[in-house]
Amino acid sequence: MGDATLGKGRPAPLLARWPRKALSLVVTVAVTLLGLLFVTFMIGRVMPIDPVLAVIGERATQAQYEAAYQALGLDRPLLVQFFSYVGEVLQGDFGRSLRTGQPVAQDIARVFPATLELATLGTLIGVSIGVPLGVLAAVYRGSWIDQIARILGLVGYSMPIFWLGLMGLLLFYGILGWVSGPGRLGVFYQGLVPTRTGLLLVDSAIAGDWTVFRDAFSHIILPASILGYFSLAYISRMTRSFMLEQLSSEYVTTARVKGLSEWHVVWRHAFRNISVQLITVIALSYANLLEGSVLTEIIFAWPGLGNYITTSLLANDMNAVLGGTVVIGTIFVCLNILSDILYRVFDPRAK
């Protein structure tokens, strides 16, 4: 919307263009997802790991091998396989996982909430520390707090996450015993609260079962903090940069000249102005955590989507990999578009 006059009292152009915009958006998303599927599918097919062997194992005879090969439909031409797969996906059928023997959709429904919960808590931690830190670093530019923010950020960007995870596990679980170990929940708490959302913290809170809540919390807090740290590094840096831009702008100078309190200037004016940009950044960082938690999930034996996709990939369980990738890709694309829309709708300066 290159409409510079868009603003008070003139929402009409936006609405008028809405259907066309929406349509092109839908087409874009569909094409992107189809491409995503295609690439993943082709990777799976050129992969030197034989999916049949993953099912039948070491001892199978050649006849059993061929029976399984045909049962998996691998004897059909590649494109036929691809389109029949897309057709099934459109009906919500991701096929059956070779590795777990379960329908992939069911597997994903099981593992996705684990990833969602982890990434959400990670983002919450990142935002609740990163945003204030970024604002303070910008306001007290060059001070010790700015330096701390900077160093925290640089260290966060430089740390191998799997190593940090290992060390964290060793220190906080192994030596100090402050948190629970890998996994989502201690065994004896499993199955005590009914699954409503699949998010254990939410489910146990709904059920009012605080012992389960506490156990789940003590499992999630370490991996979530580690993810949160990485998101903090990114968010605080972006917040600082946005704030600096605002604080050096004319209206802030004007406001200061008018004698408004510094607090008022910072939070009421500058911060309010960056909130849209910030939402975009947070959405991006959230998407990154959803997809980027792979190594953390592996270290913490977290039964989430990243772990699921990786394990499946190594066994060339392509139905599972495809399904998982489509879900992550969809979320990623949607969050991107959402932040884009937010940005365009709410930020009058967006071109």
Binding site: P48, I49, D50, P51, L53, A54, V55, I56, G57, E58, R59, A60, T61, Q62, A63, Q64, Y65, A67, S97, L98, R99, T100, G101, Q102, D107, R110, L169, L170, Y173, G174, L176, G177, W178, V179, S180, G181, P182, G183, G186, V187, F188, Q190, L192, T211, R214, D215, S218, A301, P303, N307, Y308, T311, L314, A315, N316
Partner: protein, 531 residues
């Protein structure tokens, strides 16, 4: 839900007492909590299941005609569902008489019909382990005539030729011979004889039934109230998927679990001396070996192969990174198997190896080795790479996932394959029939199940015949001697370097009693465990 409120009380008490996150000091008394790598589980259908972890589930959920006594594994197969059996005079017919008191978890009694159905089903489904049954001449077409149940308590197997009875009965202790509840299975069957349903449900008469299996997370077994034997001391078994050794150890030390099954040698060493933890060593059937593809010019030179066998630091590995978990073992039959050879003809001798290399005329050979991405395998591979390098054999390691390396191996595209082999049933033929038997070495034969074929090794005619003769020998002692001779010749001539036999070290809280992982012949016995 009695234990639930008790648990809560304990948890709340712990909460009030500690500021840090509480770890419960003990696991609940009626529950066994095991940490193990169980991501190999694909299916729990006994006709299909063939993975290590699957054996642990299936063998505790189903009963078989014959099975083992955990307190005396060496006694071999014992009556279970079958109280007795008779062999016809020509040796081709075995008649089992079933005990009458066994009942499935559903409440249905176990009959000879169920047994016949289960065996027929396994043959007809023709999944990977089916060869254990079909080697007696059963096919999808003839199995209904050859496995019959003339009445409720009589089961008759008709074999295609006389076999050593011990061979047949040993095969019937394998998981594929588990007896399923035919009524329940048929009620849940689609057109696949219940294969899909049995993948994650159970229909057995064993001490436990499957309560849940969440792939990559855990499985839970719950005591079967209709079990005919003594009720298990621990009515609930929870096995969590914990792949990392360090994690298992931390959990065990903190008392979050009762048993840790995959501790590395260094973690075992690390917990030694702890009062709360004990380690049980059990010799398992898995052997570590390498196979050399005979299509390779260098590797088909017998002197090179022999040199490689001498240029292997068996004891050095067994004393260092394999310490306590692998014994030096150089025969294809694992120790405790009938006729297993315990001699170790080869030792680390670089000079001898170098002399053999000089004799062979091969200089500066460059070969590759397929290795699974697993710390034990990688350790062995790098040690071999190091010592073989000293006699002029450059080794490049191709590291891949299990499926990747297996694919290369089955299609005969490797130079050296480094891997493990576990027996499929507790009879010497399980290994003899794959290491020392290859009736047709041509590429077209596609005998991908045979290790000799995979390495393109044309087994000498005499050895092929000896392997076949050993399965029909009725006299057990004579049979043992035949295998002994077979292994001696194999160790000298075969393009296989057999190096180690696995010792499983299960670490557990000191109050756990009766843990038996199954020795070299079977799987864990959860029902025998108490604490």
């Amino acid at each position: 839900m009695m234990h639930r409120s008790g648990l809560k009380a304990a948890a709340i008490a712990a909460l009030m007492g500690a500021t840090a996150m509480p770890a419960l000091a003990d696991t609940p008394p009626n529950m066994l909590i095991v940490a193990s790598a169980i991501d190999d589980l694909i299916t729990l259908d006994p006709a299909e299941a063939f993975e290590f972890s699957a054996g642990d589930v299936v063998d505790n959920v189903y009963e078989k005609l014959v099975s083992f006594d955990p307190t005396d594994l060496e006694a071999g197969y014992q009556p279970s569902l079958a109280e007795s059996w008779e062999v016809s005079e020509d040796g081709t017919e075995i008649t089992f008489t079933l005990a009458e008191d066994h009942v499935f978890a559903s409440g249905n009694p176990v009959t000879a019909n169920d047994a016949a159905y289960s065996l027929q089903r396994a043959v007809k489904l023709d999944k990977t382990p089916s060869f254990i049954l079909t080697q007696f001449g059963f096919t999808a077409d003839n199995v209904e005539e050859r496995i019959t149940a003339p009445d409720e308590t009589t089961l008759v197997l008709t074999l295609d030729q006389p076999y050593a009875v011990s061979f047949v009965l040993n095969c019937l202790t394998a998981t594929i011979a588990s007896v399923v509840d035919s009524e329940t299975v048929m009620a849940n069957a689609g057109d696949d004889m219940g294969n899909t349903w049995l993948r994650n449900n159970s229909a057995g008469s064993g001490p436990y039934m499957l309560q849940s299996w969440t792939p990559d997370e855990s499985y839970i077994l719950q005591a079967n109230e209709n079990y005919s034997g003594e009720a298990p001391a621990l009515p609930r078994i929870v096995v969590q998927h914990i792949p990392e050794s360090a994690t298992q150890r931390l959990q065990l030390e903190r008392g979050d679990i009762d048993v840790a099954r995959d501790l590395s040698p260094s973690d075992i060493a690390g917990i030694e001396g702890s009062e709360d933890i004990k380690v049980m060593d059990e010799l398992r059937g898995r052997i570590q070996y390498w196979g050399a593809n005979q299509k390779s010019d260098v590797l088909s030179n017998p002197q090179v192969i022999e040199a490689m066998k001498w240029a292997t630091d068996y004891q050095g590995m067994a004393d260092s990174f394999l310490s306590g978990q692998y014994n030096v073992h150089q025969a294809f039959l694992p120790e405790t198997f009938l006729g297993a050879m315990t001699d170790t003809p080869y030792s680390f001798d670089i000079e001898k190896a170098q002399a053999l290399m000089d004799e062979s005329g091969v200089e500066d050979a460059a070969i590759s080795m397929e290795v699974r991405d697993d710390q034990i395998d990688l350790g062995i591979a790098q040690s071999l790479q190091n010592t073989w390098g000293q006699i002029g054999i450059e080794v490049e390691l191709n590291v891949g996932t299990g499926a990747q390396t297996l694919d290369v191996y089955r299609s005969r595209q490797h130079d050296i394959y480094l891997g493990a082999w576990g027996p499929d049933y507790p009879d010497p033929n399980t290994n003899a029939g794959t290491f020392a038997y290859n009736p047709d070495n041509s590429d077209e034969a596609q005998l991908t199940g045979l290790l000799a074929w995979r390495n393109a090794w044309a087994v000498p005619e005499a050895m092929n015949e000896a392997t076949q003769a050993a399965v029909t020998e009725q006299d057990t002692e004579a049979r043992a001697e035949q295998y002994m001779a077979l292994q001696e010749e194999f160790a000298q001539t075969a393009p296989f370097g057999i190096m180690f036999q696995q010792v499983e070290q299960n670490a557990m809280r000191s109050e756990v009693e009766g843990w038996v992982a199954g020795g070299s012949i079977t799987s864990v016995f959860y029902w025998a465990v108490s604490k």
